[in-house]
Structure formats: C-alpha cells, structure tokens
C-alpha cells in the first residue's frame, strides 16, 4: 500500500503529461475518478467487514 502511494505521484504525473501532450483534457480527471473508485472499493472492502463483527 505504501509502495502504491509512492508510485501514485509518478502515475498522476504521467497521466497529466499524457493529457497535455495529446490535448485530451478529459483524460486526467477521468483517470483520477477511476483511481478514486479503486480506492473507495479497496477501503470499503477493508472496513465494511467490520459491520459483520458488530453482529
């Protein structure tokens, strides 16, 4: 997980450069949104099992 954070800035940088170089303005925000979804899914699936333990 820590590794991912370290590489995340590199990835975002690359995504930004891509969008700029290709004049594809939608690319950066879309990839950010998708990565956020991945994050939400990861966090959600790690914490929601908690709910089971409450029952």
């Amino acid at each position: 997980m820590k590794d991912r954070l370290r590489h995340l800035s590199g990835l975002l940088r690359a995504v930004w450069d891509f969008a700029w170089a290709n004049r594809a303005w939608w690319f950066f925000p879309l990839v950010v949104v998708l990565l956020l979804v991945a994050l939400l899914v990861a966090v959600g699936s790690m914490t929601t099992p908690f709910l089971y333990t409450l029952f």
């Binding site: 590794d3 590489h7 690359a14 891509f18 290709n22 990839v31 998708l34 990565l35 979804v37 991945a38």
Partner: protein, 604 residues
C-alpha cells in the same frame, strides 16, 4: 550494458536480456510456470535471463516494458466512450485489472526485482508495441536496411505498421488503427470455429486446406472494405470485441449460417470452408500490404513480425509471390518477442548502441532458453528413479537415429530451449515421417489433439530441395511449401467428404508431414545453427536414405513445451513416448512400442 526486456499482462509474457546489443537470453514465462500462454509477470523468465547473463545483485542497467500503457488505456477508454451504454460488462472486467495492475507497471517491476534479489535501475522504461515488434524483426535480421511490416491483433492503437530499418535505426512510417485489425479478424474466425482465441489461430490455419474458399466473397463484401494497398476497414456490426466479451456478433452468426461452433463440438465442413476463406483473404491482405511497403520504402528486403507473422502459409506466399527479394521473420513474432524487441530498440535508439548485421541472423537459432549440463541431467534422472543408458558423444546421433528408424517416437531434449512457439530440435518429439499411421498415432496417443492437425518436417538444409519446392532456407519453421510432385500420391477412391476422413489420407511418401493439400511447414536444419540435431538427421539419412524427420513440440496435451529435465521426464511418461533422448542419456520404455511402425524394437 545489460538491458532486460519484459512483456506481460496480455498473453505470452516473456523476458529477454540484451547485452551491448547481443541477445544473451530470452524465454516465455509459460515454460517456467507451466501455465499455457501465462500472462502474469514473467518472474521465472526474468530470473533465468538475468542469471544466464551473469547479472548480479546490482541488477541490469535498464529494464524496459514492451508497450506504452497510457496509450493503451486511452484506447480502452475511447472505445468505452464510443460504445456506451453497451459494453458495460466488458468495462467491468477490464477496469479493475487496469486500476490494480496495468497502470502500476513500474511498481510491479520494482517489487518483482526486489523479490528476486536484484536492484532496479532508476526507472522502468517503455517502448511502443509495434516499435518493439519492428525492432524484433529488424535488428536480429541479416539486413543492413529493409522494409519492416508488423501485423497483429492490436498494440496501443496500431494493428499493423509499416516502417523502415536502416543500419541501427528503426522507424514506423504508417499504421492502421484499432479496431480495424487483421489479427482480430483472424481471431474472430478462430473463435467462431470453436477454437480458443490467441491459441487456436494456428489450428485454424491448419484447418484451412481442408475446405473451399466459398465464404471469401462474403467476407470481402460484408466484413472487409479492402483497399489496393492492403489497408482496410472492418464492418464492426459483425464483430463483438468492442462492446462485448465475444469476438463475433449475432449478425455474424446470421451471415455464416448459425451460431459459433462450440469448443468441443464436431468439426464440420462449414468450419473448414470458413478457415480456408479467411486464410485466403488474410494472404491477399498481407500480399497487398507487402507491396505497399515495398512502394513506400523502396527497399528490396522485408522484415516481418507481429502475431500474424506466425501464419506460415501466408509467409510462404509472401516469399514466393511478394515483391521483396529476401524476407526475414522473427521466430518469436508474437508478444513474447516484444520483450526482445523492446530491449533491442532501447539499445540501438535509446543508447545509440552500434549495430553489426550478423550473416544468417543474430537469434542464435532461437536457442535462447535454459540448458542443463550432462551431470545435472544425470543427477535429476537418477533422483527421479530412472537408470538411463549413457551414450558416448560420438555415438549419440546414431543411437537416436536408430530409435527413430525403428519407428519409435522419441522425445529429444538437448541444449538451450527455443524462444518462440516452435520446437526446433532442442525440445522436440521426433519420429519417422514415412511410417504409415505415424501421424494418427502421435495425434491421438501422444499429443491427444485434433486429428486434422498436421505435423512438420525437420529436414537437412542441404537436402531440402529433394523433398520440397523450397528455394531458400526456413530455419524457424515459419514457411510452408509444397512437397515435390514426384513424392505426392493420389489416394485410391473418391476424396472423403469430412474433415476427419480427409485427415486420414496419406498423400506422399512422407505422409506424416504432408498436409491435405500437399504442403508442409518446413524447418531446414543447418549444421551451424544446430549441430546436434543436424547430426541426428545426417545419421538417420545414412541409415534410411531419408533426410528428414517429423518434428513436433515436446509437450503433452494442454501444457507448454517442456523446459526442464523434470518436465521432459513427466511428459515422456504421460504422453507415452517410446524413448527420451536427454543430454547424453537415453531412457526407453521397455514395453513394446505401439502398433504403428513396430519393427523389432530397441531395448534399453
């Protein structure tokens, strides 16, 4: 300077090591993991290549991946935008893979190298997909300059590319873009005829000669808008790979008279005719592309790579009918070769590494994988409870040839493993191609595969012309040619109407390697490229007068070609081979050889 090239995450992951421009090692991951077409990160292959190159914990000087992930991701997203709301299921399948894995390649490389005990150089590098194919086609070739044609399913956006190689520079000039792809067209028919995509294309090519090109007209009219220069558009209404999980759409079904063949379903003439039709169209497209490449570049020679370059029937036609006076084809034309190409591209164009075209080629016979010493093999055999017979060096070729001449099916394991899908004598199963019923026997009992699949001959390079209408060498089994007319035989009675019926015909005096249309997928064996295999063939010729043997890959059903002595031993037992000639040892089944070709038998 050590450069490690990697391909992964699609199919046929592989690693390759290039040192100062010289190809040191290369291997596909499937051979190590024993998972066919393994697409995971090539751990085993990577470790092998680095160790084979003597790279220590300081790691290689550079690591390069064979394609540009963001361009590919862009293509995926733009495709989604182009088909939404359809395609959600496909989106659901592919997105998690990208978000977890394919966007994080530098991280994966870092982790894997650390895990294997190597230090990662500053950062992971990336080449273009077709650039890697082009590099794998040109740099190992013997040409100082040539045209380059790469054709496959799809890379980032390009599905085919024409370029030029000159001295140490490769550049791509023109391309065709997704979704209009010759590789995907062929794969669509592969799927429709009930074979697995990225695995069964070869089978479709083998099925083609059984059929008639009765659908070619329909393909040209409804599916493909083909131009004179070989470029084309596909009618995407008939294909399902944009928005679905199947290659073809329902409209395709309607056009070709019904649903796709189920994978284990009966093979009918419809599939044979479809195979023949798409093969013919494919050959036409390639010839046009080649002519266009010739006009565009003005070069007299051609280098070929990309998955479609494995279509040896088309290659044979290109060589005979195309505008180029010489052609060189990368033996590992598929994505596995991309690992090699990426490394070579970086050396020559990223590091300004000099190039010296090697006569013949720089692939070292494609023998770039692991090897075992005689002692290691002996130890392994004994450990596995086998007491093998050891044969002195000078005697070895004759002993192996004797077995083959006795009608036995022999597993041959020696030297370095081949890189690329074909077995070229180092991890091969060989047998006498003249024996009636040999082909059926090996198809049914040893490899347990479809009866229509042909076998290929390995022939002494100097004598190839006696058997085949072949003007130039074919060292990597990438070209087909006709068996010489004098050797062909007409079968008695009318031609059977079914694929199975036709598959049983014996159509020449080397029936096991003669395909139903009189052609063969030839491997010419030269003393320089593979002295040991050449010696076996020479000994066989001396004994029998025949200078060729049947050569099929050394593996059992549904497994990749064997890599290690342990794999070989297991396959020897499972596949019911008569003998295993491994290193200086011969292991024989003491029980009698099976019905076909039972001549005396040789005891261990």
């Amino acid at each position: 300077m050590n450069i490690l090239g990697l391909s992964a995450f699609y199919h046929d992951s592989a690693a390759a090591l290039v040192r100062d421009g010289e190809i040191i090692a290369a291997a596909q991951e499937e051979r190590f993991s024993r998972k066919k077409h393994d697409a995971d990160f090539p751990r085993g292959a990577m470790e092998y290549c680095l160790r084979a190159g003597g790279v220590g914990p300081e790691g290689p000087d550079a690591v390069i991946f064979y394609e540009k992930p963001l361009d590919k991701f862009d293509r995926l997203l733009e495709t989604c935008f182009s088909v939404a709301p359809r395609g959600f299921r496909s989106f659901l399948v592919s997105m998690p893979l990208w978000l977890r894995e394919k966007l994080w390649i530098p991280l994966t490389v870092e982790r894997e190298m650390a895990r294997a005990g190597f230090k990662l150089p500053r950062e992971t590098l990336f080449s273009g997909h077709h650039e890697a194919h082009a590099a794998s086609a040109f740099y190992p070739s013997p040409f100082e300059r040539s045209a380059i044609l790469t054709v496959d399913g799809v890379g980032e956006w390009a599905t085919a590319a024409i370029g030029r190689g000159e001295d140490s520079q490769v550049h791509v000039m023109e391309e065709m873009r997704f979704p209009h792809s010759l590789g995907l067209l062929y794969s669509a028919f592969t799927y429709f005829c009930g074979f697995r995509v990225n695995d069964g294309e070869y089978k479709l090519m083998g099925l083609a000669p059984y059929g008639k090109p009765s659908y070619a007209g329909t393909i040209r009219e409804k599916l493909v808008d083909l131009r004179e220069d070989g470029s084309f558009r596909l009618n995407m209404e008939y294909f399902g790979y944009l928005d679905g999980l199947a290659m073809t759409s329902q409209k395709f079904d309607a056009l070709f008279g019904g649903p796709p063949r189920k994978m284990d379903g009966p093979l009918t003439m419809r599939e044979a005719d479809l195979a023949r039709s798409v093969q013919e169209v494919t050959e036409d497209i390639l010839l046009r592309m080649a002519r266009h490449a010739s006009e565009l570049t003005g070069e007299g020679r051609l280098c070929l790579a990309g998955g479609v370059a494995l279509n040896c029937v088309a290659n044979g036609r290109l060589r005979r009918e195309g505008p180029f006076r010489d052609i060189w084809i990368q033996p590992a034309s598929g994505d596995a070769g991309g690992a090699l190409g990426a490394a070579l591209a970086y050396w020559h164009m990223g590091c300004d590494g000099p190039r010296k075209a090697v006569p013949g080629d720089a692939m070292k016979g494609a023998f770039l994988g692991p090897e075992w010493t005689d002692n290691e093999i002996g130890d392994i055999l004994r450990r596995e409870g086998v007491s093998p017979r050891q044969v002195a060096g000078a005697e070895w070729p004759r002993e192996v040839a004797k077995l083959v001449a006795a009608g036995r099916v022999v597993g041959l394991f020696q030297g370095r493993m081949e890189f690329g899908p074909r077995a070229l004598g180092n991890r091969s199963i060989i047998a006498d191609a003249r024996v009636p019923g040999m082909r059926e026997r090996i198809n049914a009992a040893v490899k347990r595969r479809e009866s229509f699949r042909p076998f290929a001959p390995a022939v002494l390079a100097e004598g190839a012309g006696e058997y085949f209408e072949l003007e130039a060498p074919s060292p990597y089994m990438l070209l087909t040619a006709q068996v010489r007319k004098e050797r062909l035989r007409e079968p008695a009675g009318p031609r059977p109407a079914s694929v199975d019926g036709m598959a049983r015909l014996e159509l020449s005096d080397i029936p096991a390697v003669t395909h139903v249309d009189g052609s063969a997928r030839i491997q010419t064996v030269s003393r320089e490229q593979n002295p040991d295999f050449h010696a076996v063939l020479a000994a066989f010729k001396e004994m029998t007068g025949c200078g060729l043997v049947l050569n099929t890959s050394f593996n059992a059903k549904d497994e990749p070609i064997v890599c290690s002595p342990v794999d070989a031993l297991r396959c020897f037992r499972e596949a019911g081979l008569d003998d295993l000639a491994i290193g200086p040892y011969i292991v024989s089944r003491v029980t009698a050889p099976s019905p076909a070709g039972n001549i005396g038998g040789v005891s261990s």
